[in-house]
């Protein structure tokens, strides 16, 4: 069963269509990237999945159940712009917000303590939120979004403002959640993070889907016919290669139309070249993003 199934949702605000006939699904145990330029309709889409606003038409189902008050307990949400009750203590904040997700007090406390320990925040549990640093506040907010053991967690720019240590900690927690069969939706502008974490992606622009599917497949689709090579000694001319671009520490070989990477590799091996790295070049997601968004704006 899909963790979330979004089907033909449409939403307009004051005559402006913000989300236009969008459909996608996210499986359990999957990290799904929701990407797109500013104002593409990502936040509106997320809010419709979280039942914060209702679509004008179309449906959202969570684990086969139509979105409604009952389904809300299965959702976890880390909004992009964050905040908690500033005067409330850390543990009280987590327990209160967990109780609104239908978790009873003692289990909420138990799980909150567990997560605080896991993130190294246990010593701060009696502090008021306003006494925490920005990064710490963000970790607490992340705990709030998963403390009720949700089936679907939507994280909007979860890494923004985190130092490398906390960034790593968070990544570890995300992989952990995935291994427990949770569906995670990551909305971010950081393409390197999407490449690192996501299994599948949906790119939207002007409220429409412009790219949707398995990340590796998408990258293969946008592959330019070239290989990255790091070799010892002078390379000279290589058969089947039309151009060589030098990069720092390696070169990019642009292949002729009918040449395959295998043929080039075989040629190099025959010549006895010492090869340290040979890799079929896939464009970074960033490039694909710019290309696709550029196309859709033309």
């Amino acid at each position: 069963m899909q963790a979330v199934e979004v089907s033909h949702i449409v939403k307009s605000f004051a005559d402006r269509v913000v989300v236009n006939d969008l459909s996608f699904s996210v499986a359990q145990g999957e990290i799904f990237g929701l990407i797109g330029p500013n104002g593409a309709g990502k936040t509106t889409t997320i809010r419709m999945m979280m039942d914060i606003i209702r679509p004008d038409s179309g449906t959202v189902t969570i684990l086969g159940e139509k979105l409604g008050e009952a389904a809300k307990n299965k959702l976890g949400y880390l909004p992009e712009e964050r905040g908690l009750y500033r005067k409330l203590r850390v543990l009280d904040s987590i327990v209160y917000l967990a109780s609104l997700k239908g978790v009873d007090k003692s289990s909420a406390e138990e799980r909150a303590n567990e997560l605080l320990k896991q993130t190294g925040m246990l010593p701060h549990k009696t502090k008021k939120i306003e006494e925490l640093s920005r990064g710490m506040g963000q970790i607490i907010q992340f705990i709030v979004s998963i403390v009720h053991d949700p089936q679907l967690v939507v994280l909007d720019e979860p890494f923004a403002g985190l130092d490398p240590v906390n960034r790593d900690l968070l990544k570890g927690l995300l992989f952990d959640l995935r291994s427990h069969g949770k569906a995670l939706i990551l909305s971010t502008h950081q393409m390197n993070e999407v490449e690192e974490l996501c299994d599948r992606i949906l790119m939207i622009d002007h409220g429409r889907s412009v790219l949707y599917g398995n990340l590796a497949e998408i990258k293969a689709r946008y592959r330019s016919n070239s290989v990255l090579l790091q070799a010892e000694g002078e390379l000279g001319e290589v058969p089947g290669v039309t151009a060589i671009r030098a990069h720092k520490g390696y070169v990019e070989l642009i292949l002729g139309e009918n040449t395959t990477a295998r043929q080039v590799l075989e040629g190099l091996v025959r010549r006895g070249t010492t090869i340290n790295r040979f890799e079929v070049a896939t464009p970074p997601l960033n490039e694909i993003f710019l290309k696709v968004v550029g196309e859709s704006h033309e």
Partner: protein
């Protein structure tokens, strides 16, 4: 537990823990206590009576020799003003007055004191007056007549019903105190509670908690829980004030105490007061919620709320007009106008019998307004709770109400 109840409990606790709330709850009785103390000090009725004092006088007219002992105040006659001034400076007397030869035609009494004061204290003034009157009249009219000249009437009003029988509910200042007191508490509590509601919503909008809350509960649950939670805290506050009131009043002077003990509160008044309390709070709560949802931050919302509470305060500003002409058409208007009716009705009940049709109209308008505002609020709540940074124009809000 039901999510609405969870929000209710949370809001109640958070409100009750607020420093401002605790200070407000405690400060009202303290201010009342201070006021009672000040009134008693100023009127000179504090303690077992006026302090013993010795006052000098110079009788230039002649004939003022008797009754030199007026309660705690003793009067000493001096032959000349120089003697009296000497005694005043020496501290033998606290002040003196001169009865000039033309006193009978002018009524002029010159008073001399070392103190900086606007007028003689009521106790001293009363002693001097009594001394003058009794000396002027002694031997000419009976003693009882002297007393009547000093206080010609002790007005006691009895209200009769149309059949000529004594009405069960009597008017008077005693009956005025409780409605006015209740009116003040009602207005205070409504203002405080609705301020918290606007502030709370504004804060949750400002710090973006709203999204997390709305991904957990419905706008209706959030609205209901908040209104009831903060309302419950407001009720506890009023209950605290109401309980502390009799204790404070027992500390007040016997004259006020006597008034209080004379109060007979009809059941109909208590029922109406409670009903208007609940309706009044509900109306301001739904208005607060609408304002909290549409304004960009807590401060802006509070300013707007301040403007809307003005009609409620009108009966206080014109309290004397209300007491002396309670059936003026202007008061009828404020009895029916929903923003002022909760306080207006309760206060007007203390001074007059409000015709039944006005009460019915007032309640009906109030209830209809609550239903109307509630319907509008729930419509716009969801949209505007998530709109940050900018305040929507009035036209835009209207458009959204239409489209829902």
């Amino acid at each position: 537990m039901n999510k609405t109840l969870l929000i209710l409990r949370h809001e109640f606790r958070q409100t009750a823990k607020r420093r401002g709330f605790i200070v407000m709850t405690l400060i009202v009785p303290v201010i009342a206590l201070v006021l009672i103390g000040v009134v008693q000090l100023v009127s000179g009725t504090a303690g077992p009576g006026p302090q013993a004092a010795t006052i000098g006088y110079v009788d230039e007219l002649g004939g003022f020799q008797q009754f030199t002992s007026q309660g705690n105040i003793t009067l000493i006659r001096f032959g000349t003003t120089d003697d009296a001034t000497g005694a005043l400076i020496a501290g033998n007397i606290s002040e003196y007055f001169v009865i000039p030869p033309d006193y009978i035609s002018t009524g002029l009494i010159n008073r001399y004191t070392l103190e900086k004061q606007l007028a003689a204290s009521p106790a001293v003034a009363a002693a001097i007056n009594h001394f003058l009157v009794t000396n002027l009249l002694v031997g000419k009219v009976p003693a009882a007549t002297i007393a009547r000249i000093e206080a010609p009437s002790n007005l006691v009003t009895t209200r009769l019903t149309e059949t000529g029988a004594v009405a069960p509910e009597q008017g008077g200042y005693g009956n005025l105190i409780v409605p006015f007191f209740f009116g003040i508490l009602l207005a205070l509590s409504i203002i405080v509670s609705s301020t918290y509601l606007v502030q709370g919503l504004g804060d949750e909008k400002e710090n973006r908690l709203m999204e997390i809350l709305l991904s957990s509960v419905s706008p209706r649950q959030l609205l209901t829980g908040k209104v009831l939670g903060i309302g419950a805290a407001g009720l506890v506050q009023v209950a605290f004030w109401a309980i502390s009131a009799p204790l404070l009043l027992s500390l007040a002077s016997s004259s006020i105490g006597g008034l209080i003990s004379a109060i007979r509160l009809p059941i109909s008044f208590v029922a109406l007061a409670v009903a208007y309390f609940i309706l009044g709070y509900s109306l301001f709560a739904v208005i607060s919620a609408a304002i909290g949802a549409t304004s960009s931050g807590s401060r802006e919302g509070q300013q707007l709320m301040g403007v809307l509470t003005i009609p409620m305060l009108i009966p206080f500003w014109f309290a004397s007009l209300l007491i002396f002409s309670p059936d003026n058409p202007a008061w009828v208007f404020f009895t029916i106008f929903p923003l002022s009716s909760p306080v207006e009705v309760v206060m007007r009940l203390g001074v007059t019998a409000i015709p039944a049709w006005q009460l019915v109209a007032s309640m009906a308008v109030l209830i209809l307004t609550i239903i109307g505002v509630l319907a509008l609020t729930t419509k716009i709540f969801r949209v505007y709770l998530l709109m940050y940074g900018k305040r929507p124009g009035f036209g835009e809000v209207l458009r959204n109400i239409k489209t829902g």
